[in-house]
Symmetry: C2
Subunit: 305 residues, 2 copies
């Protein structure tokens, strides 16, 4: 029983107040897969160029990630470069070179298609839908999106969302998607679009899980130093869906256990917080499940009253 993750595998150039890295492994699929790999077996679908480093393949393989769906084609791997503001709450994109990612057509190896869990990273909604339709034994499917698809591919996105169990987005995206300023109203408008579960990520302020029957809110973990927030949202997604896969959650097979969903939001927060502690994916080179569970308990300790 595996989790299939679809999205970008990329190289990033990142500058934060703590330093600068010219070229490091990145991409939504990478962060989601690495974070989820602490909870469940992961299979990825992505494309890279012939410049992709063996060391980066080795890192993914070392986490037990199935790379059969990682297509390698002539050309250069997707490259993104950006610089963060002093307080890390804003970032400016310096370069976006889609390269081989421009023609990405997700191809699922046959042994992926019967897997029960699917997480669709932020790519064009029609591609997300195409993947969803190739899967034939899903228990839980969902994904992420972004402002660009919400504004310029709205109908395509709405059609895609109908097939999802969960959607993970940030608060400004939730407001744009729903047309509602008040978060609670925005959430209920989105829950009418298809997903029964919505997670709104609020960066340093935490995250909120919405379902039609109520909500769960968890504040952010207070880091002593945010080294690099790149990938934190995708790491959150990986922790969230990875934990649900580990629990074998099966909404269609009966009622959803809300306590699992709540714990999944906390595990997502835990993985996002770890991600920020080092540049890029570096924290996942040393992170252990014991550290993850330790921080989960810290969340309990600082939220309980």
């Amino acid at each position: 029983m595996s989790l299939v993750v679809v999205g970008s595998v990329a190289y990033d150039g990142v500058e934060t107040p703590h330093g600068r890295v010219e070229r490091m492994l990145g991409g939504a699929c990478t962060y989601i897969a690495l974070a989820a790999s602490y909870f469940t077996h992961v299979k990825i679908v992505a494309v890279v160029g012939d410049d992709f480093d063996q060391a980066d393949l080795d890192l993914l393989a070392s986490r037990g990630i199935d790379l059969a769906g990682l297509e390698r084609v002539p050309g250069k791997t997707f490259y993104w470069a950006g610089v963060y503001s002093e307080d890390m709450n804003d970032r400016t994109t310096l370069r976006t070179e889609l390269n081989v990612f421009a023609d990405f057509q997700p191809k699922l190896p046959d042994h992926y298609k019967s897997q029960p869990y699917l997480m669709l990273g932020n790519i064009q909604p029609s591609l997300q839908r195409g993947v969803r339709e190739q899967m034939n034994g899903l228990r839980l499917a969902g994904g992420d999106t972004m402002n660009y698809w919400i504004s310029d591919y709205r109908e395509e996105l709405l059609e895609t969302l109908k097939g999802w169990d969960f959607l993970l987005i940030n608060d400004s995206e939730a407001r744009e998607l729903s047309g509602e300023r008040v978060l609670r109203r925005a959430a209920h408008a989105i829950l009418d679009m298809g997903p029964h579960t919505l997670v709104i990520k609020r960066g340093e302020y935490g995250a909120i899980l919405f379902r039609k029957d109520g909500y769960f809110s968890v504040p952010g973990y207070l880091l002593d130093r945010v080294f690099d927030p790149t990938g934190a949202g995708d790491s959150f997604a990986g922790g969230f869906v990875g934990y649900l896969a580990e629990q074998g959650i099966d909404p269609a097979g009966g009622k959803v256990d809300v306590s699992h969903l709540r714990a999944a939001v906390v595990y997502g927060s835990v993985m996002g917080s770890f991600c920020c502690e080092r540049f890029g994916v570096d924290r996942f080179r040393t992170l252990t499940r014991a550290e993850i569970d330790g921080r989960f308990q810290e969340f309990r300790a600082f939220t309980r009253f």
Copy 2:
């Protein structure tokens, strides 16, 4: 055993996306006192002009608030007018007329001086210190401040803080006071200035309680509609200190019960959320303790995992 509250009693003109009120009861002391009055007996120290309405005195008296320290002098009551942005996260001050408040010298009636609890609203630090020094049986004293005092009266403020058990400020004030961007570091720098307890208010995102041995974080309550956020921070303060007074908390007399402090932060959040539901102090005209305790239980329900 009463709580003494010192600060402004004012008239406010407020415009939000939901409407506009030309002149309504406001001021930090007013909101703190009203919110705290649901938990403990309150005595206020403030000054108003001869234009102050009997109906507003009646409202305060109806909540059992001792008005012996409410000085009435010739002239006009402090007037403030402001307009909120569409998302309510910013406000622009249109008018500030200090009037009789410009010469405010807090005078404590004799029967105030032996009370155990003191909450100093946002006024000049030297005045806050003067009040603190007139009290002779304090168990717990603290207050609020603002950017103006932090930047232009820094030494006076630092001298004042040395005598406080707790400080309640918002996140931008905490950063300015400490010179630290990262909230956790900012908090520890402030805890070295005197107060053993620091509450950082984050508006819609909730609040964090810091003490040297750890922190407690509570997310914000999700309102369906924020009518008017004026006074929410002061209502938070009133709920926080009012609840501690109700519990008879006595840090000097032994160890502090951290569970009381955590619950106080939640009661503060509850009172701030109610405040936003109507214009000005209007919600406090009908609010009951049962509603307050009900919302406290709601906080438990949406934060537990």
